[in-house]
């Protein structure tokens, strides 16, 4: 078991190294660097720019060195916890991330829990009441939920809340709490703001998961052991939850592998629409203004979150499901 965990950790390190190269390539792709923009801005305002000064700056930021050295320097600093300075926000990147990371993680985890809490009962109901009115209803919901991009859902929700209650549901805090230190009131305020983003982010995943669970449970229900148990007179309710549901729910844990990247990915764009103070808007703004260090760190961090989340879910799965544990330990 320990060997398996260690091996998975090793693979994760390799993946993270690949992620960092990707993030670095992405931030290197736009022509020019931040200094070019900066200088163009100075010249536009009529300030004389001394060529020697530019070179000095370029040297200071290491922009005159070959790419691989720039990469090594960048990643070396990140490993030591120094993510550099954001030009746009005029603050260290760590400070920005420290502020927004907890909210991003909170929203992602809560969304994940929401998806399972809603999808599992509905999936079980749909499978046990196949072709019933409610089953058709959930199927329709599933199709529409999968077809609606979550940023559109965010817009529609904002519109509805505005029409119905005259409320502006953007953001995660009310005006009076935005800059305030943490207090009980602020926590309550946050809880009041959380449901909308969570529902928006979770809808597509819920729709997908209901279909997965319904399908696998239907498969299980038609198997012989179910018929045997029923023939022996086992109570329908106990039969359902004792065997087929357990078998059908387990593979769902492995869906975290695609569910989590999807949530983090969707969170990026929903946060921009709803104005949430999470990492998503940071990625967007830094990319628009070519704030390379910030863009690189945020993309890296989001990928890091999904990779680690997937690893945790895989380990959980190994612990819960003996069949998978057997397979994992065999290889």
């Amino acid at each position: 078991m320990l060997a398996y965990i260690l091996r998975r950790m090793g693979v994760m390190v390799v993946v993270l190294a690949a992620v960092s190269v990707c993030a670095f390539v992405i931030i290197q792709l736009p022509p020019g660097d931040y200094l070019d923009d900066y200088i163009a801005g100075l010249q536009a305002r009529g300030t004389e720019v001394d060529q020697a000064e530019v070179e000095a700056l370029r040297h200071q930021y290491g922009l005159d060195r070959p790419l691989y050295l720039q990469y090594l320097r960048w990643i070396g600093k990140i490993v030591r916890g120094d993510m550099g300075y954001s030009f746009v926000y005029a603050r260290p990147v760590e400070a920005l991330l420290k502020e927004r990371l907890p909210l991003t993680v909170t929203i992602s985890v809560l969304t994940l829990l929401f998806v399972y809490a809603v999808a599992v009962p509905i999936g079980i109901y749909s499978a046990t009441h196949q072709y019933s009115f409610a089953d058709y209803g959930f199927t329709v919901f599933g199709f529409v939920g999968l077809a609606t991009p979550n940023f559109l859902l965010a817009l529609v929700m904002m519109m509805l809340f505005f029409y119905l209650f005259g409320l502006n549901i953007g953001g995660l805090f009310s005006m009076e709490y935005v800059g305030a230190p943490w207090s009980f009131g602020k926590l309550l305020d946050l809880l009041a703001h959380l449901p909308v983003p969570i529902v928006v982010l979770g809808t597509a995943g819920t729709a997908g998961l209901i279909r997965v669970l319904r399908g696998s449970l239907l498969d299980e229900l038609s198997k012989q052991y179910v018929i045997t148990a029923r023939a022996k007179g086992l109570d329908e309710q106990r039969l359902l939850f004792k065997y087929p549901v357990r078998v059908a729910v387990n593979p769902m844990l492995s869906t975290v592998g695609w569910l989590l990247p999807e949530i983090v990915s969707g969170e990026t764009i929903v946060a921009i629409v709803l104005g949430l103070p999470t990492i998503g808007p940071l990625v967007f703004n830094s990319l628009l203004s070519q704030d390379m260090l910030l863009a690189g760190s945020t993309i890296m961090l989001l990928s890091f979150l999904t990779v680690v989340g997937t690893l945790i879910s895989d380990l959980l799965l190994v612990m819960v499901d003996p069949r998978i544990r057997f397979e994992a330990l065999q290889s």
Binding site: L146, G257, T306
Partner: protein
């Protein structure tokens, strides 16, 4: 139809039909099964209409996307009416009378019952070039007495109905072009992976796992932000589709590999080999048919993901850039909640996006059922 049903069918219906069932080719069986899936047929029909719009928006829309009617900025959708003065007549719309709300200083539009605009077919209006090549000025419908805006107007007084139709061309074709690209990538890499196996397979599989574990939208954003600002509409268009397929090919490659591995060992392939069939015949005559149906299903389900990706990127201003129109760029106008509440018709492109994606899902579902007609 299950085996069991097939047998009972032989007993109860005239032999002719049963005979037809048993001699039908695989494609005929698939077609029959597909036709029975009602939602899938609806999906196919609606999508055919959408793509028809995307092919001929110049002719089908009453205006051109760049035509501005300043005085009609933010005017609401015009209703097509049939009753004027208590009498039924051909379809027409009323023009708008403008006034200013004294309280909010907002422009108000009220239907002007004296300004009757009969809708006619094949009207001469704004000039266009069909596919940028063939000049023309005949529009399927319109009125010679003033603009007809069935979905209202945007902030510049441009007809949203027209713009939605033109946007269909970009948004729907991004899906197709992107899927063709991922198809090629997936087929080649998945094929190599499944055919050679071993080390090559291992490396490609790890790359796929890696790409799947990345959060797509931030990566797309990063790549899209790198598209040079001086690029023209067409270059940007292809740039965006390439970015979308970089992530999109992975799923397809998995399907191809899995199927190849499975089929390589299948009995009928072995039988063909023993019977002395040449490699080319095995691939074209035996592998492809049992393969293509799955690929088509997968492609159908990949297109809506591409469409959603393009919409998301363009919505953020990182994808297709104006003056080119896609459903995503049109939705940029709907970003501000105040605007959306005041002018809800700016959300109309959302309906098209959701409808298109939904129909693709229906179609894909029907195709999936049909792909295995013996089940």
């Amino acid at each position: 139809m299950s085996q069991h049903e097939a047998h009972t069918a032989t007993e109860s219906v005239p032999n002719e039909r049963a005979e037809q069932y048993f001699v039908a080719t695989q494609w005929q069986l698939m077609w029959r099964k597909f036709i029975r899936h009602r939602l899938a047929v609806i999906g196919a029909v609606v999508l055919a209409v959408f793509y028809f719009w995307g092919l001929f928006p110049e002719f089908l829309s009453p205006s051109v996307p760049s035509e501005r009617v300043r005085e009609l900025a933010f005017s609401p959708p015009q209703r097509v009416r049939f009753v004027h003065d208590g009498r039924i007549r051909g379809p027409f719309v009323y023009g708008y009378r403008q006034s200013i709300d004294q309280l909010t200083l907002q422009k108000l539009y009220t239907a002007d019952t004296t300004d009757l605009r009969p809708i006619r077919l094949f009207v001469r209006a704004a000039e266009y070039k069909l596919w940028g090549l063939i000049p023309g000025d005949i529009h399927l419908f319109g009125s010679d007495r003033g603009p007809v805006m069935l979905l209202g107007a945007d902030s510049f007084g441009r007809d949203l109905f027209t713009r939605n139709l033109y946007a269909a061309r970009v948004s729907l074709s991004v899906g197709l072009v992107g899927v063709v690209l991922s198809f090629v990538l997936g087929l080649v890499l998945g094929g190599i992976s499944g055919y050679y196996g071993g080390m090559v397979d291992n490396v490609i599989q790890r790359i796929i796992e890696f790409l799947i574990s990345l959060p797509t939208i931030p990566v797309w954003m990063g790549l899209a932000a790198a598209l040079p600002p001086e690029w023209g509409s067409i270059q940007i268009y292809f740039g965006v589709t390439i970015i979308l397929s970089i992530v999109g090919w992975t799923g397809l490659a998995r399907v191809v590999r899995g199927k190849l591995l499975e089929l390589r060992e299948a009995d009928f392939v072995m039988a063909a080999r023993i019977a002395g069939a040449r490699q080319r015949r095995i691939i074209a005559g035996h592998l492809m048919p049992s393969f293509m149906s799955y690929l088509i299903v997968h492609l159908t389900l990949a297109i809506p993901r591409m469409i959603l990706g393009e919409t998301a990127l363009s919505f953020l201003g990182l994808g297709i850039r104006p003056p080119a129109v896609s459903w995503g760029t049109l939705l940029q106008d709907a970003q501000n909640i105040q605007t959306v509440v005041l002018y809800p018709w700016l959300m109309s492109p959302a309906l098209f996006v959701v409808a298109a994606v939904l129909m693709f899902n229906f179609l894909g579902d029907g195709l999936r059922d049909a792909a295995d007609p013996y089940k």
